[in-house]
C-alpha cells in the first residue's frame, strides 16, 4: 500500500513538473508564452489560387501509399459533396459556390503549434517535431480516440474496420519526405502554386505582402496565424473563411492552455485532500472520544447519586424496621405478660401453664 501510494504521488509530482515545463506552463504565476519552435516549417495555402484539380489529393494518395479510391482523381464530380479526411484519405479539396464563382479549399491536418491531439493523448503517441510536423506513433496507440475528440479541426480519422491493428491516421506534413529533403507531396504536385512550403515566419511575411498588395482580393486575415494558438498551415482567401467551411470561432487559446487549469489542480488536490480528510477524521474521532468520556462521567455521577440515595433509603428502612420490631416485641411482651397474668388468674388450669413462655420464645 505504502509503495503504491508513494509511486502515485511520484507520478503526480512528475505530472505537475511536466505541465510546468511543457509548451504551456500550468497557470502558476508565469507569464511565459510559447511561440512555437523557432524554425518550424509550414505551408501557405492561397485559396484564391486553388482551381480544385485534385492533383494534391492524388499526390498525397501516392506518396503515402494509400489505397486508390473508387472514383479516379481526375473525376471532379466528387467535389459536389462536402468531404472530410478519412482513414485512407489524408487530404480533400472542397468546393464552395460563392455567387457565380467556385471557391476551392484544401483540407488536411493543420499541424498546430501546440497540437490538441498531442496534448490529449494519454500515451504520447503524437509529437510536434521541431520542423513543424505533428507525427503519430502507431506502436503505442491504444485506440481511445480522444485525439479525434480533441482536434478542433476534425482531422484525425480512425481505422474502424481493422480488428487487430486499427490506427489513427492523418497528414504528416510528409515528414519522411521532408527529412529526405523533398517537398511535401501535395505542395510538389500543385500546378498553380496555391501551396507554398517554407519557414512559417517567412510564410506569414509572404501572406501579409499579398494581402497588402491586393487588399481588394484578400480578406485581411491569415487563418492559422493565431487560431488555436497558431498552426503550421496558413491560409489566405478572398472569401470569408466561415463561408468556406473554416470555423472562425475557435479562439486563439491553444489546447494545452484550455486544460492547464484542471491539470494544475491535480497536485493541489493530492497535497491538500489527505490533510483535510485526516483532520476531519481526527475531529470526528476526538468528538466521539469526548462524548464517550462525558457519557462515562455522567453515568458514574448518576451512579453515585443513586447509590447515595439507595444507602439513605436502606438506612431509613432499617431504622423503621428496628423501630417496628421493637414496637412489635414490646407489644408482644405486654400481650404475653397480660396473658400470663390471665393464666395466673386461672389457677385451676395449672397443668397448661408451661405453654405461654414457649410461645414467647418463638417470637
Amino acid at each position: 500500500m505504502g509503495i503504491s501510494r508513494r509511486k502515485f504521488l511520484g507520478w503526480f509530482g512528475g505530472l505537475s513538473a511536466t505541465a510546468a515545463t511543457a509548451a504551456t506552463s500550468a497557470i502558476a504565476g508565469s507569464n511565459h508564452h510559447f511561440k512555437g519552435h523557432p524554425d518550424t516549417m509550414g505551408v501557405l495555402h492561397d485559396i484564391n489560387r486553388c482551381i480544385g484539380c485534385r492533383k494534391c489529393e492524388e499526390a498525397c494518395n501516392t506518396v503515402n501509399e494509400l489505397p486508390k479510391p473508387e472514383k479516379p482523381f481526375d473525376d471532379l464530380s466528387v467535389l459536389d459533396q462536402k468531404r472530410r479526411t478519412h482513414a485512407d484519405v489524408y487530404t480533400v479539396v472542397n468546393q464552395f459556390q460563392q455567387g457565380k464563382e467556385k471557391v476551392h479549399v484544401k483540407k488536411q491536418c493543420n499541424h498546430c503549434m501546440e497540437p490538441a491531439c498531442a496534448s490529449a493523448c494519454f500515451v504520447k503517441a503524437f509529437k510536434k517535431m521541431p520542423n513543424g510536423s505533428v507525427v503519430y506513433d502507431e506502436s503505442v496507440c491504444v485506440g481511445c480516440r480522444y485525439c479525434m475528440i480533441a482536434c478542433p479541426f476534425n482531422i484525425p480519422a480512425y481505422d474502424y474496420d481493422s480488428v487487430l491493428s486499427p490506427k489513427v491516421t492523418k497528414c504528416t506534413l510528409c515528414h519522411p519526405r521532408v527529412q529526405k529533403g523533398l517537398l511535401p507531396g501535395c505542395v510538389e504536385a500543385c500546378p498553380k502554386e496555391a501551396l507554398i512550403y517554407g519557414n512559417r515566419k517567412e510564410l506569414i511575411k509572404i501572406a501579409r505582402k499579398r494581402i497588402n498588395k491586393h487588399p481588394d482580393q484578400y480578406i485581411d486575415h491569415i487563418y492559422g496565424e493565431h487560431e488555436m494558438g497558431g498552426t503550421s498551415w496558413l491560409y489566405i482567401s478572398g472569401t470569408p473563411f466561415s463561408e468556406i467551411g473554416m470555423r472562425e470561432d475557435l479562439g486563439v487559446k491553444s489546447a494545452p492552455e484550455l486544460t492547464s487549469g484542471p491539470l494544475s489542480a491535480v497536485p493541489i488536490v493530492v497535497g491538500l485532500w489527505p490533510v483535510l480528510l485526516t483532520g476531519v477524521y481526527a475531529i470526528s474521532k476526538r468528538k466521539d472520544k469526548v462524548a464517550e468520556e462525558e457519557k462515562a462521567e455522567a453515568v458514574k455521577a448518576a451512579e453515585n447519586v443513586a447509590e447515595e440515595h439507595l444507602k439513605n433509603q436502606i438506612a431509613k428502612l432499617k431504622l423503621e424496621a428496628t423501630k417496628e420490631k421493637e414496637a412489635a416485641i414490646k407489644k408482644e411482651v405486654t400481650k404475653a405478660l397480660e396473658e400470663a397474668a390471665k393464666e395466673a388468674e386461672k389457677k385451676a388450669e395449672a397443668k397448661a401453664a408451661e405453654a405461654a413462655p414457649e410461645k414467647k420464645e418463638d417470637e
Binding site: 472530410r84 494519454f122 504520447k124 503505442v140 481511445c144 476534425n154 474502424y160 489546447a255
Partner: protein, 391 residues
C-alpha cells in the same frame, strides 16, 4: 436425490426477469464475438466525426458517476464518523467495485487495441492528458476498492487473519479513495474542457470538472438509496436486524445530503451561466433542453428529496433517488452525445446502433448477476456471525 434438489432450486430461477437477463447475456456474447472479429465498424455507429458513443457516454461516464456511492458512503461512515451508516458501507463498496470493474471491462470493447490499456500507465505516460489522469486514478481506485471489498470475501472464505490486516487499513484506504475519486470524477468532466468549439456553450464551462465532481456526490448518494430499495425488495431475506434497523436512517440521511448538494449544484450551474454570460442560449431549443435537465432533473428532485425527508416518507425518497439517477444519466448523455458536435448537420450526428445498446445492457446484466452471486454468498447485507461484536 441430487437430481430432485437441483430441479427444485432451478424452478424459482426461471422468473421473467431472469429469462430476460439470460437473453441479454446470450446476445451480449454474440456481440462480443462480432466486436472482436469484425472490428468496431461492424457493431457501432461510430465515425470520424463521432469517435465516442454510448460506450463512453453511458458505460464510462455514467458508470463512474453512479459508482460514486463507494467513496461517499465510506467517507460518511469512516471519515465523518457517522457510524449509523455502517451497514450501508459494504453494499456501497461492492457496487462501486463492480461498477468500476465493469467500466474497465467496457473500455475493452471501446478502445481499438484493448490489450494496450496498461500502456499509458506502465509504458509511456501522456501526463499532459486529462485522460491519463482518469486512467491512472481509475486503475488505482479499482485497486483500492478491491482491497476494501476483500474483508467480505475473507469472512466468507474464513481467512480471519488476512481480514484483520486489511481492516487496519480502513482509514488510509478511505482517504486514498476520496482523493482518487475527487481527481477522476472531476477529470471526466475536464476531458471536455479541451473542446469549447464542439460542446454547446450551455454545457461547456471552465467549471466542468467541479460540476462532474459535485454531481458525482449526489449521484452516489442517490444510487445507494435506489439500490437499497431494490435490495429491500428482492434480497430482504439476506438482511440482518442491524441492516434493517439502520436502513431507514440511511435513506433519510442520504436523502437529506443529496437534497442539499443538488441545491448547491444548481447554484454553481447558474453561476457558470453568469460567468460565461450564456443566458441568451436559454431561449433556444438547446436552452429548453438544458433547463429540462437542470430544473426537471436536479432542482425538482432536490426539492422533493427535502419534502420526503421532512415527512419521513421513505417511498418518496426512494423514487426521487431513481429520478436523480436518471438526471445524472441525462447530464452525462448531454455532454458526451447530445450537446457534443451540436454544430454538425443532423446527417453527421451520431445515434447508437442496437448492437452498441446491446453491449451496454450486456455489461449491466453481468453486474446484476455478479452482485446477486456475491450478496447471496458473502456477508454484504448482514454481518458475519463470527465478527458481529466488533464495532
Amino acid at each position: 436425490m441430487m437430481e430432485r434438489t437441483s430441479r427444485i432450486s432451478l424452478r424459482p430461477m426461471m422468473t421473467p426477469f431472469n429469462v430476460m437477463l439470460g437473453i441479454i447475456l446470450a446476445i451480449g456474447c454474440v456481440l462480443t464475438v462480432l466486436r472482436f472479429t469484425g472490428g468496431l465498424s461492424v457493431v457501432t455507429n461510430l465515425d470520424d466525426n463521432n469517435p465516442w458513443g454510448i460506450w463512453i457516454g453511458f458505460d464510462l461516464l455514467c458508470g463512474v458517476a453512479l459508482a460514486a456511492g463507494g467513496y461517499t458512503t465510506s467517507a460518511a461512515c469512516y471519515i465523518f464518523g457517522l457510524k449509523r451508516y455502517h451497514s450501508a458501507v459494504r453494499p456501497a463498496i461492492l457496487t462501486a467495485f463492480l461498477g468500476y470493474a465493469l467500466v474497465v471491462f467496457a473500455l475493452h470493447y471501446d478502445v481499438g487495441r484493448p490489450w494496450r490499456l496498461p500502456f499509458p500507465i506502465f509504458w509511456q505516460q501522456g501526463t499532459t492528458s486529462l485522460l491519463f489522469e482518469v486512467g491512472l486514478c481509475v486503475f488505482l481506485y479499482l485497486t483500492v476498492l478491491f482491497i476494501e471489498f476483500t474483508p467480505a470475501a475473507f469472512e466468507w472464505l474464513g481467512f480471519s487473519k488476512l481480514r484483520e490486516k486489511i481492516l487496519k487499513l480502513t482509514i488510509l484506504l478511505t482517504i486514498f479513495g476520496v482523493v482518487l475519486s475527487t481527481l477522476h470524477q472531476s477529470s471526466l468532466g475536464a476531458l471536455y474542457t479541451i473542446v469549447p468549439s464542439k460542446l454547446h456553450p450551455l454545457w461547456y464551462s471552465g467549471y466542468l470538472p467541479v460540476y462532474f465532481f459535485i454531481s458525482s456526490m449526489f449521484a452516489g448518494l442517490s444510487m445507494v438509496i435506489f439500490e437499497g430499495s431494490l435490495a429491500h425488495k428482492y434480497l430482504h431475506h439476506k438482511m440482518d436486524e442491524t441492516h434493517l434497523r439502520e436502513s431507514e436512517g440511511v435513506v433519510l440521511g442520504f436523502g437529506k445530503a443529496a437534497s442539499f448538494i443538488m441545491a448547491g449544484y444548481v447554484a454553481i450551474k447558474v453561476i457558470g451561466l453568469a460567468v460565461d454570460n450564456s443566458w441568451h442560449y436559454l431561449f433556444t431549443g438547446y436552452g429548453a433542453w438544458f433547463l429540462l435537465e437542470l430544473i426537471g432533473f436536479v432542482a425538482l428532485p432536490s426539492f422533493v428529496y427535502a419534502i420526503g425527508v421532512r415527512e419521513k416518507n421513505i417511498r418518496l425518497i426512494q423514487r426521487t433517488a431513481l429520478w436523480s439517477v436518471l438526471g445524472i444519466v441525462l447530464n452525462r448523455f448531454n455532454i458526451s452525445l447530445i450537446a457534443f458536435n451540436w454544430q454538425l448537420p443532423t446527417s453527421e450526428r451520431y445515434f447508437p446502433s442496437w448492437m452498441e445498446i446491446g453491449v451496454s445492457l450486456f455489461i449491466v446484466a453481468i453486474g446484476i448477476v455478479v452482485y446477486r452471486f456475491i450478496t447471496a454468498n458473502m456477508p454484504i447485507l448482514y454481518e458475519h456471525p463470527d465478527y458481529r461484536s466488533e464495532h
